[in-house]
């Protein structure tokens, strides 16, 4: 059963049209973004690894070399298994530095435009046969299906269709920052199609050709040679070599590098791909032996490379063979599209732009866009030319493996890039030149000779025979040995420059150097002017604005540390546009560094913090513990309930903690790297003044913040700590601590107010109680009087009423004295203390004559006091009365007075039970008394306390352990 060429051609065009629609709808947002950014979509897009070689050629490979075809996918599995060591570090580099291709990566690491150009040229040379392979697979599949010699014009139309697709959906955006979601969706769709179709053909082979798995097993038992032929080549020599080659190809082939790193939407998707892509490849390869045996069972008269089509042609419905053709078309077109995009980007950045940089007056963006489109067309057409020029004697796999050995030459460079800081530009270039030469002699020259492009025949066969190795193992071993030896040898002999060393540090994930130097330009506007000389005004403005947006930076930013970051960001963004080396050259020339200025510690600190945060997962061993310690210390400083501001030796702020952010309302990111005078008022004055002041501590400093007064304690100390990077200064920095007392003061005032209200409440309750009792008594007596006729009883009641009213009057009088005590101080007089003491003693002795209390007084005659003699006398009477009341009958009460410096201490001691410590403050409150009702108002001690305080003195209450109470009045000798 054959198909019509024209209808297959039309179906092929329709399929390409479907790809256009998918890409178009994705770019327009018609397909949900979460589908496109899903890790499985990313994984399917990486399925571009499986080309028509896998789709058609694997069966042919299995036919000739048994399970050897699996090596091409086992190697890829190994590369993805080792993703944390290999792919993730590369992904980090490509994202951080906007590197879009392998040439970008090498040019960045080895700081050489020559290295980038060499990688690009070698990649072009090594990949063109692979593109030719795809074109040939499509053309030959058409031949198998139609049995018509496919005219070259069909291959040409296929190429033009691919050019259109690649230009429209793969070269829409200029920078690597913007991803081609439409392209990713279309490539993922193509991978899905080729997988489903191949599985469908496999199932068809099992159930239609062999009548199920039982039939397949029976056939295998009848034909043990088939299984034996499958397993036998496993122990042959190219097995390990092919695993090694496919290990490198899995991420170094231009299409793989492009989809893995340049079109990666989410770094976490790579984690999923590390197992999902091997699973995809496993499923893709599962039908291969079955299809091979089905072809052998059907005794197909065609190359085993096309058994996928042949099985469906002989034994299946026509739609299945058309589907099988579509699957092959998918595999081929995806490879050509992505490879051409990747090679175009490399050629533009490393060949075209360095060779003919356009006039800055031109629109550089348009120039780059059209340059890239032109290069895509040229690369696909070059692939077509190779297809047309080659004699098609080799199997599909042979052409693919030539490319695999070519890209394997980048493996030494990649290992050096990621893990060997000593690797040098000279070593890399010499190694690559050596390996490429061996590759060209051993693999490219025989291919060209067999196609008639090279007249001289290289005796590769005899060399291979002498080595005793298989052709592919020999080519791999020889080229990589020469490459590796030259790479290591020249790296050890040459000394990398400062820029190369810096790039080496950036590439090796476990070390890094902080940003150093200060940009000469002092504002983003000066950046624009500087860059305009090379990029043109419009592009310079756009790039500076983009970098400002990326960093969320203010357009008027002037801090040296921030401008240094801006410069680095611009270089990274330009790298995505022009390649790393050209971007570095432009930025180095147009945004000069100030050779005199020193890198501030603030800049280094911020950079170190950012890098550590970004690379936490990469830290190992002691570094993890050190990082934990760093985070703990930083957290302690950040969470400290005191504001902390630290300055480096240049007076730039290096630390501004959370409490200080809250206190000042200024975010740390706004002030880190700034001098103190750049802070907004009033903080610039507060911190600036305190930093200059000689005092290490300032207490209760008042500051008007937002029109309201606030109080602060300030402390400072200088520090000298370890330095970062090239900062070897020994000058100390300064750390300042600020404590906000305003809230504490307010709390104290509120507590005092509450206490005062409570005192008023207790006073009111006391007054009510003390006056209430006699009033109740008067009311009762008055009620009795109404009905009393006995004159004597009436008289006694009246006497009682008068006594009660006198008691009320006394209470009120004492209250008046209590409330107006301070007023009497207006009448000062000087008096002899002893006279007052004797008067008070006499008065108390008269009052307590019946209690036989002994008074023992000791008062020097020369003590004179200033104040209200009458009030001090009242105090002494009150205290002596209390002492007598507290003492048992016949006990002694002592009063002594003596001077201490500028004060006089009068102590009254009784022999009572004492006052517990927790009661000593309460006894001073009004109306507190331990005496029976009617015997004390509870105002005496309170009044005495008040009078003493009015005289500038203190009343001390002590109860020695042996019993009794000592009341001490301490009064100043001078006028208060």
């Amino acid at each position: 059963m054959n198909h019509d060429l024209a209808s297959l051609f039309g179906i092929g065009l329709l399929y390409l049209g479907l790809l256009f629609l998918i890409a178009h709808f994705t770019d327009r947002g018609r397909i949900p973004a979460r589908w496109i950014s899903h890790p499985l979509t990313y994984t399917l897009s990486l399925g571009v690894y499986a080309t028509s070689w896998s789709y058609y050629g694997s069966v042919g490979f299995a036919h000739h070399n048994g399970l050897m075809y699996l090596t091409i996918y086992i190697g890829a599995t190994l590369a993805f298994v080792l993703s944390p060591l290999l792919l993730q570090p590369i992904l980090r580099l490509t994202r951080d530095y906007q590197l879009t291709s392998l040439a970008d990566l090498f040019a960045f690491r080895y700081r050489s435009q020559g290295a980038g150009a060499l990688v690009t040229l070698f990649m072009l040379l090594g990949t063109l046969p692979y593109i030719a392979l795809q074109i040939r697979a499509v053309a030959e599949s058409l031949h198998v299906l139609t049995q018509e010699a496919p005219p070259d014009i069909i291959a040409l139309v296929f190429c033009i269709g691919l050019i259109l697709f690649a230009v429209l959906f793969g070269a829409r955006h200029l920078s690597s920052r913007e991803k081609h979601r439409g392209l990713v969706a279309a490539i993922a769709f193509e991978s899905l199609i080729k997988l489903l179709v191949l599985l469908a053909v496999g199932l068809f082979a099992v159930f239609e050709v062999f009548d199920g798995f039982g039939g397949l097993d029976s056939w295998l038992q009848r034909n043990p040679a088939a299984l034996e032929a499958l397993y036998r080549p496993v122990s042959e020599s190219p097995w390990q070599a092919l695993i090694f080659l496919s290990f490198g190809a899995a991420f170094l082939l231009p299409r793989q590098f492009h989809m893995l790193f340049a079109e990666n939407l989410d770094p976490k998707a790579l984690h999923t791909a590390s197992w999902a892509l091997p699973a995809f490849l496993l499923l893709l390869n599962l039908p291969i032996p079955v299809i091979l045996w089905a072809g052998q069972y059907l005794q197909l008269d065609m190359s085993a490379d096309y058994f996928v089509l042949g099985v469906t042609l002989v034994h299946g419905p026509s739609w299945l063979s058309v589907l099988a053709f579509i699957g092959g078309l998918s595999a081929a077109s995806a490879m050509v599209i992505v490879t051409s995009l990747a090679l175009a980007s490399m050629s533009l950045n490393h060949l075209l732009l360095p060779a003919s940089y356009p006039d800055p007056e031109m629109n550089l963006y348009k120039w780059i866009l059209w340059g890239r489109r032109l290069l895509i067309a040229l690369i696909i057409m070059a692939g077509y030319a190779v297809y047309a020029g080659l004699q098609h004697q080799q199997g599909l796999v042979q052409l693919g493996l030539i490319s695999f050995v070519a890209v394997a030459q980048f493996l030494p460079g990649i290992v050096g890039l990621l893990y060997w800081k000593r690797a040098s530009r000279t070593g890399f270039i010499m190694g690559l030149l050596g390996g490429a030469t061996v590759w060209a002699v051993l693999l490219l020259a025989p291919l060209m000779h067999s196609s008639g492009m090279l007249l001289v025949e290289v005796p590769v066969h005899s060399w291979v025979a002498q080595s005793g190795m298989h052709k592919w193992a020999f080519a791999t071993f020889a080229s990589l040995s020469v490459n590796g030896l030259l790479f290591v040898g020249f790296s050890l002999l040459s000394r990398p420059g400062a820029r190369e060393q810096q790039a080496a540090h950036a590439c090796c994930s476990d070390t890094f150097v902080p940003l150093e130097g200060v940009v000469a330009a002092t504002s983003p506007q000066e950046f624009r002017s500087g860059l305009a000389e090379t990029l043109g005004q419009a592009m310079a403005e756009r790039e500076v604005d983009q970098a400002l947006r990326d960093l969320h930076m203010h357009p008027q930013e002037r801090r040296a540390s921030e401008l240094r970051r801006l410069r680095e960001r611009i270089e990274r963004n330009l790298s995505g546009l022009l390649g790393p080396q050209l971007a570095h050259m432009i930025v180095s020339r147009r945004l000069l560094m100030d050779p005199q200025a020193q890198t501030a510690l603030a800049d280094s600190l911020q950079y170190v913090e950012e890098r550590l945060e970004a690379s936490r997962s990469e830290l190992r061993g002691l570094n993890v513990e050190l990082d934990r310690l760093r985070r703990l210390h930083r957290q302690i400083l950040q969470e400290l309930p005191l504001g902390v501001c630290a300055l480096d030796h240049n007076g730039k702020i290096v630390l501004w903690n959370l409490a200080l952010e809250v206190m000042t309302g200024i975010a740390a990111r706004e002030v880190i790297g700034s001098p103190l005078h750049a802070l907004p008022a009033p903080w610039n004055g507060l911190f600036g003044g305190f930093a200059r002041a000689a005092d290490q501590h300032v207490h209760r400093m008042q500051l008007a913040v937002a029109g309201r007064p606030r109080w602060y304690n300030l402390h400072k100390s200088s520090y000298a700590g370890p330095t970062l990077g090239e900062d070897h200064t020994s000058e100390p920095g300064l750390v300042m601590i600020i404590e906000d007392l305003t809230d504490l003061g307010q709390l104290e005032a509120e507590l005092t107010h509450s206490d005062r209200l409570a005192s008023v409440g207790r006073l009111a309750a006391g007054v009510a109680h003390e006056i209430g009792n006699p009033v109740t008594g008067i009311a009762s007596l008055a009620q009795n009087l109404r009905e009393e006729d006995d004159p004597q009883e009436i008289r006694r009641s009246i006497e009682d009423i008068i006594a009660q009213t006198r008691r009320i009057a006394n209470i009120l009088k004492t209250l008046q004295s209590f409330s107006r005590g301070g007023l009497h101080l207006a009448q000062y007089e000087t008096y002899a203390l002893c006279e007052v003491v004797q008067e008070a003693r006499h008065l108390v002795e008269l009052t307590h004559k019946h209690r036989n209390v002994r008074f023992d007084t000791e008062c020097p005659g020369n003590i004179s006091l200033s104040g209200s003699r009458q009030q001090i006398s009242q105090v002494l009477v009150n205290l002596l009365n209390n002492a007598v009341d507290a003492s048992p009958e016949g006990a002694g009460v002592s009063l002594s007075a003596h001077t201490e410096d500028d004060t006089v201490r009068i102590s009254i001691e009784d022999r009572g039970s004492g006052i517990p410590e927790d009661m000593r403050q309460t006894v001073l409150e009004p109306f507190y008394t331990t005496k029976p009702t009617g015997q004390g108002t509870g105002l005496g001690l309170s009044l005495a306390h008040r009078i003493i305080e009015d005289h500038g003195g203190r009343l001390l209450i002590e109860s020695p352990p042996q019993g009794g109470t000592r009341m001490s009045i301490v009064l100043p000798l001078r006028k208060p």
Binding site: L82, L85, T272, A276
Partner: protein
């Protein structure tokens, strides 16, 4: 007895890589290929590696905050 520390993802990747080499690029490869095993044996071994890889990734996701 203290609980042994969980291996970081890098270490697990290295172990898995070595297992891949052991199964498919060592004398063990020739040994299993020389036995009369069903045709799908290499796929079963490959599938085992895929499952282990998926487990390593799932474990990393669980450990991440």
């Amino acid at each position: 007895m203290s609980t042994p520390a969980r291996l970081p993802q890098r270490d697990l990747a290295i172990i898995l890589g070595l297992l891949t080499l052991l199964l498919f690029a060592s004398p063990l490869t020739a040994w299993w290929a020389g036995m009369t095993l069903p045709w799908y044996t290499p796929y079963a071994l490959w599938g085992l590696l895929v499952l282990l890889g998926a487990w390593v990734v799932r474990r990393k996701r669980r450990d991440e905050p």
